[in-house]
């Protein structure tokens, strides 16, 4: 038994299972958290029937959807209709492979970790785009078009803001980036980059105030109008899994990962700091959704190209100056 537990392959498999299980559970329970918090903000009760405090609601939802009929309309491009929800759901699983959740608690630590993270989160956008364009319904095609230009526009400030931590750490490995924040979080010198990255994650995960591709009041359901059964569930769960990954990415890149806020309070660096930070950012996602109204499409484009992009470039300048002078 002891021999088995000291086998590096077994240790790796256990770590992988812990991270996979934790991220998937967090994604499933975000649905419950969102509905409860929405109810709380709107002075309602929310789901409270299935299990204690409605805690079994996500399981009930997924089971119900899995046993529903898969309606595939006539005008649909069948191959892309099959591929789209899977892309959106597989992307967060692929992205979580490089995120370090605690000291030693990561699945993989390649020296191109940041690039892998950005690539995997951008792939999720393809799920939304293909879902909209393959549906053969005018509402979905509009949603797909909107999401194409939205994701493309917010990708630029996001990637340029993410260069800041790479400059600060002098490495693209996410573990090195966290270690470089032991003395001070990157959110302190690169506050602008932190804000730009945080705002763009809302656009990349199609969350309010940037949920134009979905926009239920004008486009019915947008890109997922023609999806039913588990394909719809994957779109739904994929959005929440992508939120978990986005929150983890913000925590790792700018908020010091598993390190505490001040060097003095670094006595207990560990996975609990990471959990606290991810939980905070996840709550922020829900909080903002029920606080801010939706952008208009031209405002969305102006905001990305005329506000966020110059700010991201300014952050690049600050990060370089800080690194060169220090």
């Amino acid at each position: 038994m002891v021999e088995l537990l000291s086998n590096p392959y077994v240790i790796w498999a256990i770590k992988t299972l812990i991270i996979f299980g934790a991220v998937m559970t967090a994604a499933a329970y975000m649905v419950w958290v969102e509905r409860r918090v929405a109810a709380w903000i709107q002075d309602r009760i929310g789901p409270n029937v299935v299990g204690p405090f409605g805690l079994l609601q996500p399981i009930a939802d997924v089971l119900k959807l899995a046993f529903k009929e898969e309606v595939i309309p006539d005008r649909v491009d069948r191959l892309l209709h099959f591929l789209a929800p899977g892309i959106l759901f597989a992307a967060p699983i692929i992205a979580m492979a490089v995120i370090p959740y605690g000291p030693g608690l990561w699945i993989s630590n390649p020296d191109f970790g940041l690039l892998w993270l950005l690539a995997a989160t951008s792939i999720a956008g393809y799920g939304v785009i293909l879902g909209g364009l393959s549906s053969g319904s005018k509402y979905s095609v509009l949603g797909g078009l909107r999401s194409t230009s939205q994701i493309v526009s917010y990708e630029i400030p996001m990637v340029i803001a993410a260069i800041g931590p790479a400059i600060g750490a002098g490495s693209l490995s996410l573990v090195d980036i966290v270690e470089a924040q032991k003395a001070m979080w990157f959110a302190v010198p690169q506050f602008i980059g932190f804000m730009v990255f945080l705002i763009t994650t809302y656009a990349e995960t199609n969350r309010l105030p940037f949920d134009l591709p979905e926009a239920e009041s004008e486009l019915v359901g947008g890109y997922h109008t023609e999806f039913s059964s588990l394909r719809f569930a994957w779109f739904f769960a994929g959005e929440y899994a992508n939120m978990v990954i986005a929150s983890s990415a913000v925590s790792v890149l700018f908020m010091g990962g598993w390190y505490g806020p001040l060097p003095g309070i670094n006595i207990f660096p560990g996975v609990h700091w990471m959990i606290l930070k991810v939980a905070f950012f996840l709550f922020l996602f829900v909080w903002i959704r029920w606080t801010l109204p939706r952008f208009r499409f031209d405002q969305l484009m102006y905001f990305s190209w005329k506000v966020l992009l110059p700010l991201a470039l300014l952050n690049l300048f600050i990060a370089t100056a800080f690194k060169v002078i220090w």
Binding site: E69, I156, M301
Partner: protein, 118 residues
């Protein structure tokens, strides 16, 4: 086991979970298609024309600007890793590179490439 193998395993796990789930649900769910059920949903009225109609040129312009800046960002990553070691020289060179792109950005703005309202 190298880090690349671990990434490869997660890639396969992700795809298996995602597409395995969809295939399982195809078996689990009932299958009763009918003519009206298979119409695309357009508020219940009679469908006219094809969904893929004309697309506004603005989307194309945004895609073009994206292409320029995405390549730029890709070039900046290796630079970002080394700017801490090479200090001032790398910082100045990066500044010149960005300056050229900022000129292009201002040109696109001046031409009204990101103008969404007439």
């Amino acid at each position: 086991m190298s880090e690349l193998w671990k990434l490869g395993i997660m890639l396969v796990v992700g795809l298996l979970v995602a597409y395995g789930g969809i295939l399982v649900s195809l078996v689990l769910g009932p299958r009763r298609p009918s003519k009206t059920k298979n119409y695309p949903y357009e508020s219940g009225i009679q469908i006219k024309g094809n969904a893929h109609g004309k697309v506004a040129i603005k989307y194309f312009l945004v895609a073009l600007i994206f292409l320029i800046f995405d390549v730029e960002a890709a070039v900046l990553f290796p630079w970002a890793v080394k700017v801490g070691d090479l200090k001032l020289i790398a910082a100045v060179e990066g500044g010149i590179f960005l300056l050229i792109l900022i000129v292009a950005y201002l040109y696109a703005l001046g031409k009204g490439a990101i103008k969404w309202l007439d």
